[in-house]
Amino acid sequence: MNFPSKLIEDAVNAFASLPGIGKKTALRLTLNLLKREEHEVNAFLSSLQKMKANVGYCKSCNNISDAQECEICTNKQRNHQLICIVADFRDVIAVESTNQFRGVYHVLGGLISPMDGIGPNDLNLENLVDRITKNEATEILLALATTVEGDTTNFYIYRKLKDVNIKISTIARGMAVGEDIEYTDEVTLGRSIINRVPFENTFSSK
């Protein structure tokens, strides 16, 4: 693609560096911004800058949060004794959109995968036991992807908690979260949260 302006070319390349954006789409977005009022473009840019500078992680659950503690963790109406373990914040959005879960979350920030250089120490697992004690939690709900990495992480957490007196459950098998999130409809995911099963049952019968 040849551009009459180096400035436009730079902007196009910036857009094209985003996932899923090809050169053609990048050009369309660039030309759209070019046509807009200057203050509109400034507002657009400052929203991105503010997002990058200020978004942080909740100190309790590791979910993405504007404040030190996220809105779910500070909500007194929610059941803090039920903790749902998810891989990343997209899974929080998916589970929240089912309206079937009133507990709190614990966001791992990934799944165990030595092939991708991710070991247990790279995940938010250190403070899980402390959090269980602090919340006086009675149940852990494992909601990880049904991949080998999800299975491994499930088993790792299960073993880590074997001396902790707590019920460990998992969403019904065959239910996809994580990687498969966009193929999962809210009703099915919601149903599998209601029909969650004790984790031991998912492998002893295998």
Binding site: I112, S113, P114, M115, G119, P120, V148, E149, D151, T152, F155, Y156, R159, K160, F203, K206
Partner: protein, 375 residues
Amino acid sequence: MLELYLEKISLLYFKNYFSTEVNFSNQVNIIFGNNGEGKTNMLDAIHYLCLTKSFLNFSDVQNIHPDSNSFLIKGVFNKNEITNEIVCSVEKEQKKVIKKNKKNYEKFAEHIGQFPLVVISPLDFFLINEGSDYRRRFLDGMLSQLNSNYLENLVQYNKVLAQRNSLLKTKQNLNSIEGLLDVYDFQLGQLGNKILEERVKFLEEFINLCNQIYLVLSGNKEIIALEYQGSFASDQLETELVNSRNKDLQIGYTTIGPHKDDLKFLLNNMPIKKFASQGQQKSFLISLKLAQYSIFKNHLNIKPILLLDDFHDKLDASRVGRLIDLLNPQDFGQIFITDTDEKKLIHHFEGKSRDFKLFNLENSTVNEVSFKTLT
């Protein structure tokens, strides 16, 4: 028993073929021509239609005619009086497409097993001469076509194994990775024990059949055996993996498990690779493949398609005669045979009451020839 045969094939830019359409006999099809004319490629095209890939270890792109960017294979199968059109198309830098009755498959695994097929070819010698992975792939391939659960366990096992090996390669000290190894060894143990159990169960039936067939082919002279060489005791994989951690960590990969097991081939109690003649080896390999045929037939309730590439390869006249007798129409469905010498081959079929068609392959064109013009 369900009937299965390929009525018709059309090839477009596949290997040396520009554009070809052939109507087959539902019994025996003999394709002859000089070497290099593409007899085997015709069989490979049939293999594509049944199992979505080449049996000649060619990549899909390598099978495209040099004048084209894509190839297309279309086949019309008759399965129990129902017509199925299968299309396989490959285009450079595109994903391969397989369609059944105009509908795309999302997963090729769904296609495999619907049109079962067995190949006998000179490449079978790899099973004797090459490393253990060829023998495992043969065994796993048969089990996967019969049992989708087995395939699923095997895929899972290999994924967990790859993760365990990655962890071992980081060469961290054992204490720091023990917690994670506990999980991997548990997961591999569960899956690996089941894989071994299925293999052993399958081999019992398989070995029996191999022996029966070999006895016929060799004229009741010799006894063969297949021994499973396991790297761990049954139901003990988890414990044994835990015990081999130190060693595995030193070497940097997992040294025991179904991925390390092997099959030992014996003739009169001696290793076939060293102590058997090429004719005996070929008869042994044919026995493996015909036993595979027999198991597929019994378990899937369908007579698979049989491909026999380079029929006279390493076989003397008496063994060829006994093989032809084995391939009788009561036990076998549609058969495709290639050979360089049509006279020698037709001689075997003369007087046997079965339908067959002859095809001459010359300058990349296939012509049906009548039996009379040759005798």
